[in-house]
């Protein structure tokens, strides 16, 4: 029963009619740590989690969660997985106390300390009904209930969406200092790059249903560089001229080129393409990921150059 992996997919694919949502997706997440999953809207994140948790069947390939085939998850295995969804859907008519009691009864391994610790971050009273809670309080209560069930695998799908600064801070602290432990694997999906940079041990990048990258956040940053130059009376470089070109944007008359895995002769190559005033900028985490995700993204394509 004890698998060394928190989750595993092999050549996983999902087709919805003519659209392929997930394509030959193979990923093995080791146990422990916080793994952030990023990708543009429609990159396949939700489909991936639906398949992993057995809500939908894959069109091809296989996947497992905590060593158990996703298509044959038993209630016992499901009980070891916690899921927090952006909507924080909880029964609106129930009181905090009643819902807590119900959840406590469902999980034999209930961790009252973790539940209390998280709930203390939020201003929630036992007699309040869920409908009376603010979005931030509901999110906190939802996270507390989920950590109370002491899951081995915790999946958070854009959990801080729509939260104010205070609630967001409380939520992140709860994940980092109550949620994460050596025996728990946290999968954190988010579009908030500042949050991802703060919490992630490793980073999974999904792009158009494929695994684009799986590394530490620093490693992805190291692979991406930004080059600034002007191209007077010369066509802007396209992906054909510059392998690894992720994004090309004009800012104040200068062209900012984001390059993946720049080769040693890139400066010479750019000069040959007519670049003047060439200089290299270091790139922070959010810019690196944004550049990576903007590749092949709808909108001004990199090869068209000017936006």
């Amino acid at each position: 029963m004890t698998s060394p992996h928190a989750l595993e997919t092999r050549d996983l694919g999902k087709r919805y009619g003519r659209r392929i949502a997930l394509r030959d997706f193979s990923l093995t997440l080791p146990r422990g740590g916080i793994h952030a999953v990023v990708g543009s809207n429609g990159a396949g994140k939700s489909t991936l989690f639906r398949i992993l948790l057995g809500f939908v069947e894959p069109s091809w390939g296989a996947s497992s969660v905590l060593g158990c085939d996703s298509r044959r998850l038993t209630p016992a295995v499901r009980g070891r997985v916690g899921l927090v969804h952006e909507e924080h859907t909880l029964p609106a008519w129930m009181s905090v106390a009643a819902l807590t009691a119900m959840q406590r009864d469902h999980y034999p391994q209930w961790d009252e300390t973790a539940f209390r610790e998280v709930l203390d971050h939020f201003d929630v009273l036992p007699e309040q009904r869920v409908a009376q809670l603010s979005r931030g309080e509901r999110a906190g209560f939802n996270l507390a209930l989920t950590l109370g069930q002491a899951p081995e695998l915790l999946i958070l799908d854009e959990p801080t969406l729509g939260l104010d600064v205070v609630a967001r801070q409380a939520f992140l602290e709860s994940i980092l200092f109550v949620g994460a432990s050596e025996t728990r694997t946290v999968v954190y999906c988010s579009h908030q790059m500042d949050e991802v940079e703060r919490v992630a041990d490793s980073l999974v990048v999904l792009e158009r249903g494929e695994l684009a990258s799986f590394s530490s956040p620093e490693e992805l940053c190291r692979r991406i560089s930004c080059w600034v130059a002007t191209f007077v009376d010369r066509p802007l470089p396209s992906e054909r001229d510059l392998p690894g070109l992720l994004q090309s944007r004009e800012i104040d008359g200068e062209q900012h080129l984001m390059i993946l895995d720049a080769s040693g002769d890139l400066a010479a190559r750019l000069h040959a393409l007519g670049a003047s005033g060439l200089r290299r900028q270091t790139v922070g985490f959010d810019r690196a990921v944004n550049a990576y995700l903007s590749r092949h993204h709808d909108g001004p394509a990199p090869s068209e150059g000017v936006s």
Partner: protein
């Protein structure tokens, strides 16, 4: 004391390493003092404790910090542990990066030197005697 910003070109663990080094260089952090624990600094900064641990490990490997089991992490008496050739190489490295970053900014050499001296001034109390 140690501060981080997301979106900085430096990864968070590097910002922590630099922050501790700057703190020592400016005298804000003195030899023998205890740094916050990994967990407590992670909480102050709202970052993953593993990131702080990674920064502390690097500082320990460089001989800047010393971890005493069960007691905490302490700042070592700073002594020069790099060979003079390595120090030269690192200085060259840093200068090349600095010069290439400022060359196109249009400041006069005097202005650049003046600003550099301003930045070094707070560290002068710590200047090693040759």
């Amino acid at each position: 004391m140690i501060q981080i910003v997301t979106g900085d070109p430096r990864p968070i663990f590097r910002q922590i390493v630099d922050g501790v080094k700057m703190g020592i260089a400016s005298g804000e952090i003195v030899a023998g003092s205890r740094l916050p624990s990994v967990r407590s600094l992670a909480m102050q900064l709202t970052v993953n404790p593993n990131t702080v641990a990674k920064a502390y490990n690097e500082l320990t490997a460089e001989g800047i910090l010393e971890s005493q089991r069960g007691v905490g992490v302490f700042v070592c008496e700073q002594r020069q542990w790099l060979s003079s050739a390595e120090r030269e190489r690192r200085l060259d490295d840093a200068l090349t990066r600095f010069v290439s970053a400022v060359v196109s900014l249009g400041f006069s050499h005097q202005e650049i030197l003046r600003r550099l001296e301003d930045e070094l001034a707070p560290l002068s109390s710590k200047e090693p005697t040759p």
